[in-house]
């Protein structure tokens, strides 16, 4: 039976210590100011102060970043539900960046791919938890396989009411569930899949895959980079709430994929 990986987050336990963010960056060699995961402070509430909402790629069932990907590099792994990036296909065009309402996609400055959380594929393959889960001092994040009724996450999902944090207009059906008391529930940013990309993908994606299958991608990647890649372009709407907005000096990163998984 296929797995379905998901995360339940108890944001009432989060103390905003940021260890999950650094654990992730170290594990995946993501330089400072670029983030695969985040902690979002909620609004000040009278008598309750500020609470924190940890998050990361929501591994959506209706992944708009997959819709936006012109080369098929971003795809949902059918065996476990994780949205992954095939680095050989990714041309770093950045179409997926505005397509993700959560700001979970970013151009990795050292790898020339648009990176994202993959629930630490390498670590979970070895039976470990994702880095953010393992590091969290308050165990605010529970990770597991929803398809396994005996897993902790299935038990929590069954026993306790959960909510999903979504944009009102764009429900991407995230696989991150929050225990009921989290705020805010509404995600302010809409998914923005460029129409041209949608068209391109529908028309040409099968051809791209075929070309890749036959010849490798070198020529097309170069072409794609010419066409789509503009590191200075602003891919976000005003007021985008996401972890990767800071534009700072780019650090040097490794060429290989997530060696610390």
């Amino acid at each position: 039976m296929n797995k379905r990986y998901a995360m339940v987050i108890d944001s009432s336990r989060c103390i905003n210590c940021l260890a999950c963010v650094v654990a992730c960056q170290l594990t995946h060699q993501v330089p400072a100011n670029f983030k695969r995961n985040w902690i979002r402070p909620g609004p000040w509430e009278f008598g309750a102060g500020v609470h924190y909402q940890p998050g990361n790629c929501m591994q959506c069932e209706r992944p708009t970043c997959v819709d936006a990907c012109p080369t098929g590099a971003t795809y949902q792994d059918e065996t476990n539900g994780i949205i992954r990036v095939n680095p050989k296909l990714c041309i770093a065009c950045g179409s997926c960046i505005p397509a993700c309402p959560y700001g979970a996609r970013f151009r990795h400055p050292g790898k020339r791919i648009v990176d994202k959380c993959d629930f630490c594929q390498g670590r979970i393959g070895k039976g470990r938890s994702p880095a953010c889960v393992e590091t969290c001092p308050t165990r605010a994040r529970i990770f597991g396989n929803m398809a396994d009724a005996a897993s902790e996450i299935s038990r929590v999902l069954k026993a306790r009411p959960t909510v999903r944090v979504i944009n009102k207009k764009t429900d991407t059906e995230p696989a991150i569930y929050y225990l009921e008391k989290t705020s805010p529930l509404d995600w302010p940013v809409e998914a923005n899949v460029p129409e041209a990309i949608r068209l391109w993908r529908d028309l040409f994606n099968p051809i791209v895959k075929a070309v890749v299958g036959m010849t490798g991608l070198a020529v097309l990647v170069m072409l794609g980079k010419q066409l789509f890649s503009d590191p200075n372009s602003e891919h976000r709407d005003q007021g985008h709430t996401g972890p990767n907005e800071a534009k700072q000096e780019m650090g040097k990163g490794p060429d290989d994929e997530t060696p610390n998984d």
Partner: protein, 700 residues
Amino acid sequence: MLGGLAGSPVPELKAALADTGPSTEFPSCCALCQVRCTTKVEVRDGKVVNVFGNPENYWTGGAMCPKGKSLVELTYSPHRILNPLLRDGNGWKRIGYADAVQLIADRILEVKRSNPEDFAHRVALFMPLWESRESELAALMALRIAGFPDTCSPGETCIASTSAALRICLGTANSTTNMDEMMNSKILVLWGLNLAEIYPTYTRWLLAAKEKGVEIIYIDPRRTATSNLCSLQITPRPGSDGALALGIAHILIKEDLFDKEYVSARITGFEDLSQAVQEYTPQKSAEITRLPEEAIVQLARRLGASPRTLVWLGGSLARYTNGLQTIRNIVSLQAITNNLDGPGKGIMDVLGGKPGGEEEFLEHYTDPVMSPRLAFRKILYNMKNGKVDVLLLNSTYRRYPDANAVKEAISKVGLVVCRGFFMNEEAELAHVIIPGCMPFETSGSMYGSQRQVLWRSKIIEKPADVVDEFRFYTDLGKKVSPEKFPSFDTPEKLYEAFRKTIPSWKGLELERVKASNTGITWPSFSRDEPESKGSIFKDGKFPTPDGKVLLNSKPMGTIRWEEPEGSPLNPKSHEYGKFPLIFTQGKVVQHWHHSYTNWSSYMAQFSEGNVVHINPETARELDINDGDWSWIETKIGKLKAKVKLSMAILPDVIWTPSYPSPKSPFPGNQGVTINTIIPNYWDKVSAQFNGFGCRLVKAS
């Protein structure tokens, strides 16, 4: 680019141990705060690539905080100093390590020769060191055997007042119990302790205690992440905690909510306390603390009704000039309600206390008759007057109030030797820099806030020309006292010599400590005895002269509360009428004081430089808006900070983070050292960093 500085390639590092596979995990422990998270360090090709908490650690459960993780980046930082350096007329030039040690030793010997009658205070050591207990012992031996007793102790800017008050009242400077006793409490009071930010990896205990039904009361003027984990928060205005304690004691005594039997059997000075609290009516303590009377009365009744209360003291309580009195007042509450010894009871401080035996061990090697050790302010005075010839600067001088004055005094020292990692403010003052090792590169023992002793093993080779502290101070000791300096070649040998000499360490055998995932609790007189956890008062007596809690110690004067010095509410202060806001500062979760985490880009991404948090009400009165730049002005100086409006701050109070460093290479961490504008106010034991007056002026 300077020789050996930024830009130099980190030398290729080899795996310290044979048979390391492509990625191997090594046990270690974090060298930063006193939680002492034990860790698993991932090494690939001889290089540390990641670090995670050790899931078997009893106290942390395998968690880590971002600071500890920053050590991976810092170890390979391009900004790290990789060679000993000597300042000459043209700046820095490389110097061989052996030549550097010889130069320092020659100068120290020269100081002794030129001042045969009066050399003892002409050489001083800045504590703490970075690496281990053994490196600290080696440094202390190197100087003391040569006849130099002076150390600038970090306690004077930390929680020395708390330790001193606990020692006077209870006969021990340590926490009286362990953290897990909170599970046996009915009420846990976090008094000025923002645990979620100071010791994030302990917070799971708060959650567990809360789930078990323990009521957690948090006393802190500022709303923090810790607030979210507590049942109730009380927000007295900064510096008034001692008055709150006396107000509570007033109600406990008046309403007969204290343990009379315990008081008569176990307390000396209760009459003085009763006398002192008479004037602290709910009305008066409410006026001082700016709390509603009802909140104080309710809190007192809750504490009076609790069968088991544990109080955990935050560091900030000691950082006011009334710190000693505040701590004594809080101890009094625990004493009269019979909450000092037994399960679920006690009083803990934030550092827990150092395992004993150090002085005893050092006395084996140093002459018994020595000049008395000087406190920091006396050493500062000597430096200012050119009476200190050599200063071994192992840690930051910026921890002191009026840090610019300290800088100026150090600049008058003939030879300043900096032991550091980066070109920071301390390096700027140095004549010689001997770069230090990062924690993964050395071995040695450490201790944690639960009195646990741990061993940190070397995991990777150090860069070729950096020098570990143990070696540097051993080499220096041998050169300045060739006949007397004992020959401990390795930290392991020193550890074992220590253990065999000090009875309370006998059971802490090296192999046993190394094999432990959590550390072993001191004291341990034999490896066969069970670990000594829980209340340290086992026999119904306190280690005070009469075996009772001492509340009316003569040297501490009458039981009282006083306005902190420099408080804008103190009519006698210079600040009164001129500096109307109350200054407070604090640590943030991503920084280890204002020290080397400032060299981490990962920590910088969460940092905002000099920022000042104020209540919107205060902002309205000052006509300042969120995001404005403003000057924080104090009696001695000013600095520019970005205003952030926050409901978490009380009106008429400002809060600013303590980490910024002007030398940090990363914008988020950069800023003016805030201690440069902190006026010099001290109680008998330690310095004040909060509670004095300041003003906020919009910057044009």
